[in-house]
Symmetry: C2
Subunit: 352 residues, 2 copies
C-alpha cells in the first residue's frame, strides 16, 4: 500500500492519530496556554495568556500546484502567501507574520526569484503581513512553503471569536462570498493561452481572500466557516464530516460571474461546485446571524443552501425541482472536481 | 545570474530587503504586539500582550539534506522536528506547537510514512511539542518542512529573555554544549555502511538539542546564542557579522568526543569546526555570566574562545601558539566545510 491509495486526507488523519494531537485541552481545565483548535481546521489556534494565536501552513509545488513556465513568478509569490491568508480569514482572524521556505533548483534565474519576492511583497502589503523569517534550500523543482501566524479576538466573556469547521448545526444557512468557479475557469484559459489581463485568469493567479468579511463574521458570532480551496462541495464535506450533518446547495443560487457564464456556459455550475482555488469564504450560521452579516459585509455574500440531518452526511447539489444533480467527472490534472493532491488523478477519496 | 551564484545567505538577505521585513518595531513605540526579532536570527520573535511568541521553520529535502534510502524514515521524522526545536532552543525559548508539511511522491510506501510519523511522535514527546496542523502535497521527491511555534519568558522588568545573534560584545566568552563534529563523522560512517547503533551515526540521525540549557542561559541573562547547524565557524560568522566583531576559537579547547577522536584522529578538529548538524548551542556572554551558566547547566559546557575587535570580523581558529589554522576544504556533498544549500558544491559564499 502506498500513499496514493490513502490520499491526502487519509494521510492527514493518520498523522493526527500517530502524533496524538487531535485532543485540544478543555478550556475549563487548560492552563490558559492550551490548544483550542488542532489538526483538521483551516488553522490551529491556541490560547496564550490573553492572546489567541493562529498558525497555518500551505505549500505550492512546481508541476503539481502550478505548471512550470505558465504562471508568472510574481503571481506565485502572491498566491503562496494569499492561500495562507485565506486560512486565517476562514478562522475569523488577523494574519500578522509569515515564514517563507523556498526550495529552488540552483539554476533558477535570479530575476525569477526577484519577481517571486515582489509578488510576496505586494500580498504582504495588501494584508498587512510581515515576513519575519524562513529558509532557502536546494531542490530539483521549486517548492514555496509558507507559514502564517496571526491572532483572533476574544469576546466580552473572554471566549475566542473563532470560525470553526465543527460548529455547524442543522438548519444553519450556508453563504459564500464573491463568486465561484472563476479560478478553475481561469486556469483553463491560462492553459489555452489567455493573458493575465483576463479577469478569470486573474482570479486564478491573484486570489484575494475576503479577510475583513471573516473578521466581521467572527465579530457577529458566526460559528462556522471554511475557505474554498479544493472545491465548494469537497470543502463543504469538511464541515459535514465533523458535524455529522448533510448540506443542501441549490444550483440556481450559486454566485456565478458574468465572465464565467460567458466563457463556460455549459460548465459554469460544475466549475463553481468543484473548481478549487477560489479562496472565497463559506459561512455557516443561524439564519438571523447570517442576515446581520449580509447587512454589514463589505463583499457580496450569497446564501446558497443550508445544513440538514441527511443520513448520508455529505453535501448534495440540487436543481430547482429539488432533485440531486450529478456533476461530470473532472479532467485529470485539473482541480475541477474536488482535489486530492496525492491521488494519481487528483480525484478525492470519496470522503466528501 | 542564477540563484547558485548568490547562494543561500545572499538569497535570504535579498528576501529580507525585498519584503522590507528587517525593521522590528522599537519596543518603546510598539503597540505591544510588535516584532522583536525578524529575519536573520534562529527564530522570529514578537510581543503579543504579555506573551513573547517565537516562530521558526526548517526543511529537509530528499537527495539534498538526506540521501534517499540511507537514513531510516523514523530518524528523518525525528530530525525534521529536532532541527526546529534547536532553533527555539537557540533563542532561549520553549517550543509548543508544530505544523508539518509533507511533500511526497505518490508511490511512497505507507510504512515509510508511518515510520516518519513514529519518529516525529518520539521527538514531539521528548520536547513536549504538539503537532497541530500541516499540509500533505505531492512532489517528485520527499520534502519535510516543519514550522515550530513557541514562547519566551519575560524578566522581572517585563523585557523578553531572548538569546539573539546580534547581542555579542568584544571580550564575551564563547562556549558550546556537548561535543562537536560527531554528526558529520556519523554521516561519513553511515555512508560507509555503519549501523544506527554507532554513536556517531546516532548523533547524525537523532540530534538532541539541549533545550533546557538554552532556557537556563536566557534565565541567567546570557544575551547571545546560535545553534550549530551549518558548522561551528560558519555559524559563529552569523554572530560576527551583525555584531561587527571577530571571534577567536582555540583548537585545543574544542570539545571532541572519544568516538570522534578514535574514528577520525586526523580530521577531528576539522569536523568539529566545519561539520554541520551538531545542533549543539553556542552561548556568548560576559565571563561572569558564563561562569554562572557553567555552574548550573545540566549539560557539558566548554569555553572555546572569545569575541574580539578583529578588523576582519570573522571567526579565526588558532592553535596553541596563537597562529591561525587553515582547514582542509570539505568534500563535495558533505556538510563538512560549512554549508550553503544553494551552491553546486555546497561551499559557503565566503560571508563568514
Amino acid at each position: 500500500m502506498n500513499v496514493s491509495d490513502l490520499g491526502e486526507f487519509g494521510l492527514i488523519d493518520r498523522l493526527a492519530a500517530a502524533v496524538g494531537a487531535t485532543r485540544p485541552e478543555s478550556p475549563s481545565t487548560g492552563s490558559g496556554q492550551g490548544l483550542i483548535v488542532g489538526i483538521g481546521d483551516d488553522a490551529a489556534a491556541w490560547r496564550f495568556g490573553d492572546a489567541v494565536i493562529l498558525a497555518t501552513t500551505d505549500t505550492l509545488v512546481e508541476g503539481v500546484h502550478f505548471p512550470p513556465g505558465l504562471a508568472p513568478w510574481a503571481d506565485l509569490g502572491w498566491k503562496a502567501l494569499a492561500v495562507n491568508v485565506s486560512d486565517i480569514a476562514a478562522m475569523g482572524g488577523t494574519p500578522q507574520f509569515a515564514l517563507i521556505t523556498l526550495a529552488l533548483p540552483p539554476e533558477t534565474p535570479l530575476e525569477d526569484v526577484d519577481e517571486l519576492y515582489a509578488g510576496l511583497r505586494e500580498c504582504s502589503a495588501e494584508y498587512g503581513v510581515a515576513v519575519v523569517g524562513g529558509d532557502v534550500v536546494r531542490a530539483p523543482q521549486a517548492v514555496i512553503s509558507v507559514a502564517v501566524l496571526g491572532h483572533a479576538e476574544l469576546d466580552s466573556d473572554g471566549q475566542p471569536q473563532l470560525l470553526r469547521r465543527d460548529a455547524a448545526r442543522a438548519g444553519y444557512a450556508i453563504a459564500v462570498t464573491g463568486s465561484l468557479g472563476d479560478s478553475a475557469a481561469g486556469l483553463r484559459r491560462l492553459k489555452d493561452g489567455a493573458s493575465a489581463d483576463d479577469p478569470l485568469v486573474r482570479a486564478h493567479l491573484r486570489p484575494k481572500p475576503p479577510l475583513a468579511a471573516g473578521q466581521q463574521a467572527a465579530h457577529l458570532g458566526v460559528p462556522c466557516a471554511i475557505d474554498v480551496s479544493d472545491g465548494l462541495l469537497q470543502d463543504l464535506g469538511h464541515i459535514c464530516e465533523p458535524c455529522g450533518l448533510g448540506a443542501v446547495v441549490r444550483a440556481e443560487a450559486l454566485p456565478l460571474s458574468q465572465e464565467l457564464r460567458r466563457a463556460f456556459p455549459a460548465e459554469a455550475i460544475s466549475l463553481a461546485c468543484t473548481g478549487g482555488e477560489d479562496y472565497q469564504l463559506v459561512f455557516i450560521a443561524p439564519q438571523e446571524t447570517m442576515r446581520l452579516l449580509r447587512a454589514s459585509a463589505q463583499v457580496p455574500l450569497t446564501v446558497i443552501g443550508e445544513m440538514d440531518e441527511h443520513p448520508e452526511q455529505r453535501p448534495r447539489l440540487i436543481d430547482e425541482s429539488g432533485k440531486e444533480m450529478r456533476l461530470p467527472a473532472g479532467r485529470q490534472g485539473v482541480p475541477g472536481a474536488g482535489w486530492d493532491h496525492l491521488r494519481p488523478d487528483g480525484r478525492p477519496s470519496g470522503r466528501t
